[in-house]
């Protein structure tokens, strides 16, 4: 038989829950992995839209304009640095994505923490190795 409330109670609500989340130390590794994965996923989605927008200039404005825009963007140092960020986001998202797919196959559930650290470490290594390609 389903239960019903008998008293009015105090709803601490989202705000108080978020307030608590300010203390970063309370989050556990699995939660960090989730936050990072979602954040990088959103970054990638955002990039995808921008990317399509830039590609679209070739379609709307013609290929000369497109080349000018791309060369202009690539000459900006900040864009290069952002590209490293994008690459990092992609690498982490992909590696951690593999971690999550493994869980779906019930592999590695008891070493989830270590797998998270592994995907971080590998991401670092790959991004470092990739830096010269972006800055040169």
């Amino acid at each position: 038989m389903s239960k019903e409330r008998r008293v009015e109670s105090y709803d601490r609500g989202r705000i108080e829950d978020l307030g608590r989340a300010k203390d970063w130390a309370i989050h556990k590794p699995g939660m960090w992995a989730f936050y990072l994965h979602r954040f990088t996923g959103l970054v990638l989605s955002f990039y995808l839209v921008m990317h399509l927008g830039v590609l679209g200039t070739g379609f709307w404005l013609g290929h000369e304009e497109y080349t000018v825009i791309l060369q202009g963007l690539e000459s900006l140092y900040i864009v290069r640095v952002l590209e490293i960020g994008l690459f990092a986001a992609f690498v982490f998202h992909a590696l951690n994505g593999i971690r999550i797919v493994m869980f779906d196959m019930t592999v590695g559930l008891d070493i989830q923490e270590q797998l998270f650290y592994l995907s971080i470490a590998l991401s670092f290594a790959i991004v470092l190795a990739g830096v010269p390609f972006f800055l040169l």
Partner: protein
């Protein structure tokens, strides 16, 4: 006011089983409980549940073991009913999905337990009570039985020689509510909180026993209080008898297995009946062969990690978390602690009490299947067998003859009493409670002497007076645990008083009851049940002879 054919007060193993049985018999059933059902203390039972399941075993042997364990004061008819029904009921539990441990061929596993002539304790690792409680609650959910949880029942309603229901405080809102019922079944569990060192939960305060007592139903055999030989010294948490069943050994500080070496139980050693082992431990300690804090050692180190992990995993956790010892490498310090009330509301094998429409079942009741001493694994059995019988029987009562005005009157009275309690007083309830608990632990313990018992009775008498002017400091209506504790205190005092009076009057030693001045069993004068009645001028004691049938009293040795 809420109305149901059958009201079950308390939702431990006994209450839940009774609810299912009454529902199956076609009654409209509701449960009223101060804790949510899964929080009940049945969940703490570790060891197992007895039943003569195997072909090589015979329920008559089980009955004999139980009678012998009861020190011949258990009712032999009721014991036969219980042990004969045991296999059916345990199989019923299995069929309801209870996850018993299994043997290699996929059958329910059984192990040895103290006082049993055959390894017939069916178990679910060392969490048998937990599995039983959850399985039974699952069945209650399945049937859609109404559960009013977090309602504290304070009184049963008596008028014209009949019980009409109960009065409860809604713990969440603080409102007093009436429950009219054709039958009222008390299943409120034990009253371990009468003692300071106990394996029982904070909620085990003997409320049901006290309610029936105040409604004129006698308390039976309250002097028989079981002290478990292996509890952790700091908290009273139980270390299951299963440890000894699996081969755990008890040592004194000289490294002797004293159960054998000092002849307390030359045959069964550690697996003798609980009262025997508890007294042996205290004797060792008193004679200077104990460890610090009045303990002896329970050694499991020869099992190896794997066996402990598999069969006694909870013990591993409890010993590590609560006592900071690792049973794999070191012995566990243990000492006796209050564990179980053999006595309770006097009732027959159907749970029916003297009062028409009032039933009792489980630890709160005294059908007297445990007599002077309960065997491990028989309490859970009592819950399901007697729970079923009481449920079926109570379902014969319907709402038709119930007087709702009597319930309303009782609600008004209770409201007045609670207002009175809340209106302030001299002493805080926790102070009185502690005084009672302490004197009970010191004087009405495993060893009882006349002087100590009289002293205890004085303290209890005083406590009764002090209770008249008790103080509840919390004035809120919402979830007022201060008030609930004050209400519980009355039950604690009632139980303490009847235990002590029974113990003082019984001038013999039998089962769990041991008197310094009268160290022998006295079958000539004391093959009797004690009944204590509540009267205006204090408790009144009566006796009734025990019916001896097939099993004649013999000296009890293990």
């Amino acid at each position: 006011m809420k109305k149901h054919d059958v009201l079950i007060i308390g939702a431990g193993g006994a209450g839940l089983r009774a609810a299912v049985a009454a529902h199956e018999a076609g009654a409209d059933v509701a449960m009223v409980t101060k804790l949510h059902p899964v929080r009940s203390h049945t969940g703490a039972a570790e060891g197992g549940i007895n039943a003569a399941l195997k072909d090589e075993d015979d329920w008559k042997d089980h009955a004999y073991d139980t009678v012998k364990g009861s020190d011949y004061i258990g009712d032999q008819d009721a014991i036969e009913t219980m042990t004969e029904e045991a296999p059916n009921e345990v199989i019923r539990l299995e069929n309801m999905g209870m996850a018993f441990s299994r043997t290699e061929n996929g059958r329910m596993a059984q192990r040895a337990f103290g006082g049993l002539s055959f390894p017939r304790t069916t178990y679910a690792s060392d969490k048998t009570g937990h599995m039983l409680l959850h399985t039974m609650y699952e069945q209650v959910m399945k049937r859609g039985i109404t559960v009013y949880d977090e309602y504290f029942v304070t009184n049963v309603v008596r008028e014209n020689g009949k019980c009409h229901g109960a009065v409860a405080v809604d713990i969440q809102t603080g409102e007093v509510e009436g429950f009219a019922g054709g039958a009222t079944v008390l299943a409120t569990g034990g009253s371990g909180q009468v003692f300071e060192h106990t394996t029982n939960a904070v909620a085990c305060t003997g409320d049901g026993t006290s309610m029936a007592y105040r409604a004129g139903v006698p308390m039976e055999d309250m002097e028989f209080v079981q002290f478990h030989p292996t509890t952790l010294p700091s908290t009273g948490i139980l270390i299951t008898e299963g440890c000894r069943g699996e081969g755990g050994e008890l040592y004194n500080n000289k490294g002797e297995r004293f159960m054998y070496e000092y002849g307390y139980a030359a045959n069964d050693g550690e697996l003798a009946s609980r009262d025997v082992v508890s007294r042996a431990e205290l004797t060792e300690v008193q004679e200077g062969r104990g460890f610090e804090d009045g303990c002896v050692h329970l050694d499991l180190t020869h099992f190896g990690e794997e066996k402990i992990e598999e069969r006694l995993s909870q013990i591993l956790e409890l010993a590590r978390d609560f006592e900071d010892v690792d049973p794999v490498t070191e012995p566990i310090p243990v000492k006796p602690g209050q564990h179980y009330m053999m006595g309770g509301v006097a009732c027959d094998a159907n749970g029916a009490t003297e009062l028409d429409g009032l039933y009792a079942v489980g630890e709160t009741a005294c059908v007297s299947v445990h007599g002077a001493n309960r065997l491990g694994g028989n309490a859970l059995l009592e819950l399901v067998v007697m729970g079923k019988l009481a449920g079926q029987h109570s379902a014969n009562n319907h709402l038709t003859n119930v007087s709702t005005s009597a319930v309303e009157q009782a609600v008004d009275d209770e409201r007045a009493r609670i207002d009175e309690l809340m209106s302030g007083g001299k002493e805080h309830q926790s102070v009185i409670r502690q005084d009672v608990q302490n004197v009970m632990t010191e004087k009405v313990n495993v060893f009882r002497a006349e002087e100590g018992l009289e002293e205890a009775l004085e303290v209890i008498d005083e406590a009764k007076e002090r209770y008249e002017d008790v103080n509840v400091k919390d004035s809120s209506k919402t979830f007022n645990t201060d008030l609930i504790q004050a209400l519980e205190l009355r039950s604690i005092i009632d139980c303490a008083e009847t235990i002590t009076i029974g113990a003082l009057k019984r001038t013999e030693s039998r089962g769990a009851h041991w008197r310094y001045e009268h160290q022998d069993r006295d079958d000539e004068n004391w093959l009797k049940h004690t009944y204590v009645y509540h009267t205006e001028d204090g408790p009144e004691v009566k006796y009734e002879d025990v019916e001896i049938k097939d099993y004649k009293p013999k000296a009890r040795s293990y």
